[in-house]
């Protein structure tokens, strides 16, 4: 599978687009299975790169969400509160929060689509 090139990726399987939208990857939702609950921060919350900002729950497990970059939450996707399964249906379209980036240069340290794909394949041992 090839990952969209309009965004950057992390080893925790999150993506962040240039306009500050954050979500989890198709690989992540596939590993998690049916997603039943998404807990996200309120608008105005300050995020620090690498620190947890919320949780995503499948039937069996709770997984932390890690901020790919630092910034302030400007929007929260309220659809996911009632329809968390949208993340399974199209993880790359189901953005979770939007942040105003504190330092856009932080994105340079993240994985490109090609690097993320390589990382996923290595993890799986192919």
């Amino acid at each position: 599978m090839s990952y969209p090139t309009d965004r950057k990726y992390t080893k925790e399987h999150e993506w962040i687009s240039a306009d500050g939208k954050i979500g989890i990857t198709i690989h992540a939702q596939d590993s998690l299975g049916d997603i039943v609950f998404v807990e996200l921060p309120k608008v105005g919350t300050e995020l620090t790169s690498g620190k947890t900002f919320g949780t995503v729950e499948s039937v069996k497990a709770v997984s932390d969400l890690y901020a790919p970059a630092s910034g302030t939450v400007t929007e929260v996707n309220s659809e996911l509160a009632t329809s968390p399964e949208k993340v399974n249906k199209d993880a790359h379209a189901a953005w979770m929060i939007k942040i105003a980036l504190k330092d856009p240069a932080e994105l340079n340290g993240l994985l490109s689509a090609a690097d993320y794909e390589k990382f996923v394949n290595e993890e799986a041992g192919h």
Binding site: D30, G33, D34, E39, T55, E57, V59, K60
Partner: protein, 419 residues
């Protein structure tokens, strides 16, 4: 499945070195199941979304159609001989004397303290022959317990756990599925693991087998016109899903096990049969309020606290744990197992604290999860009797926050009566 699937080249790469495997392990990996270590066993937790599975789909298939489970990790202890009934009566809290040949009952093995060694299904196979089916994680502990505590009795005690592959067929369409294999050979597609078998038939009187009764069926497998396999098969109308269904015990030979597994899926296609893993097994039993050892029952919990009074026959003059239970009954309950339904947003999970409305810790969650059929987040928890009234509210601590929940009647789910 169209073309014969091949086993992925690194199928065994992730298997923990020390984890045990059932005879169907290669089958689960061939189907692409997500594997997990459960009580020392390498087991499927769910099957791929690509074949219509995943915990939620598997759960719903069992509630509306039929699902197939590998439960071979469970253990089997056989007691046989003139003293077999007395032996069972000594170690088991239910009354095995009430069992006719071919009948089964839920029970538990207790410590002298009235707490649980394990829960068990006791099956009466013959005049002086009983089969105890026990949990996977407690196989060795239970066998030692049974052997040590039945020594004074004139009976043979055998650990047959490795001899059987045990498959559960569960759901309202379970009978329809088995009827397709009854007195009738079904073609089973070749998949590389069931060679040399091609056709499968499993005869039994499914329609008249009553709930919690067992029967001797017969499994036959053909290649062309050659009958290569023909063996008696123990079949019970039992299960752990709160649905109708069967559990069948076949040889733990890998080829026949794979053949029966794929044969059941093939025969069940028109009923929406899917393979089901431990994930759905847990959500199904939770909705039905069926206990899980290590959670609702354990060696620190007694029969009254767990609410299993119905299966504990105190009118039996003697069984291990009876004296302690008598004393505990007189002293009164200090905690009680209740059902909780989350009212506010949040999922209660195993081990989460239960708080009263004032935020004081009063108990803990033994098992908690979304209930896929009920579409509610449910849990079982131990709380003081004063907080156990139906309708009373408590809080469950979820990531540091107390989330409102209500005590509700259990079981959360009961299967509809057949009209």
């Amino acid at each position: 499945m169209s073309a014969a699937p091949t086993i992925p080249p690194d199928a065994t790469k992730d298997a923990p070195k020390t984890a045990r495997k059932t005879a169907l392990n290669a089958v689960h990996r061939q189907m692409g199941a997500k594997m997990v270590e459960f009580n020392g066993w390498d087991m499927p937790v769910e099957y791929p979304a690509a074949i219509g599975c995943g915990i939620v789909n598997e759960h719903m298939a069992v509630r509306t159609g039929v699902g197939i489970f590998d439960v071979s990790h469970m253990g089997d202890i056989r007691l046989a001989g003139p003293g077999a009934l007395d032996a069972v009566q000594h170690i088991s809290m239910n009354d095995a004397a009430k069992l006719a040949i071919g009948q089964a009952q839920y029970s538990a093995l207790l410590y002298p303290e009235g707490t649980f060694v394990d829960d068990v299904i006791v099956h009466r196979l013959g005049v002086d022959e009983y089969l105890l089916v026990i949990n996977a994680g407690t196989r060795e502990k239970d066998f030692s317990w049974v052997r040590d505590n039945t020594q004074p009795f004139d009976c043979l005690v055998e650990n047959l756990s490795d001899d059987y592959t045990q498959i559960a067929i569960q759901g309202p369409k379970a009978v329809d599925l088995m009827e397709k294999l009854n007195d009738n050979f079904v073609d089973v597609p070749a998949n590389g693991l069931n060679a040399p078998f091609q056709k499968l038939r499993i005869d039994a009187d499914y329609k008249s087998l009553k709930f919690y009764w067992i029967t001797q069926g017969r499994t036959m497998a053909m290649r062309g016109s050659d009958r290569l396999y023909d063996s008696g098969t123990l079949i019970g109308r039992t299960g752990y899903t709160a649905e109708d269904g069967f559990e069948i015990y076949i040889s733990s030979d890998e080829a026949i096990s794979a053949h029966v597994w794929y044969g059941l899926l093939e025969a069940g296609k028109e009923f929406g049969a899917v393979p089901c893993g431990l994930g759905a097994r847990n959500t199904l039993r939770l909705e039905g309020k069926l206990p899980l050892y290590g959670h609702e029952i354990s060696d620190t919990i007694n029969v009254w606290e767990a609410g299993l009074d119905r299966w504990c026959k105190m009118e039996k003059p003697e069984f291990i744990g009876r004296a302690a239970l008598e004393k505990a009954r007189a002293e009164g309950l200090k905690r009680k197992l209740v059902g909780l339904e989350m009212i506010d947003r949040g999922i209660a999970r195993d081990g989460y604290k239960v708080l009263d409305d004032g935020g004081r810790e009063i108990g803990y969650v033994t098992s908690g999860s979304p209930g896929p059929f009920l579409k509610k987040n449910i849990a079982l928890a131990y709380v003081p009797p004063s907080n156990a009234e139906i309708g009373s509210t408590v809080r469950v601590e979820v990531r540091g926050q107390g989330v409102k929940a209500q005590v509700v009647p259990t079981p959360f789910y009961k299967r509809p009566k057949k009209s």
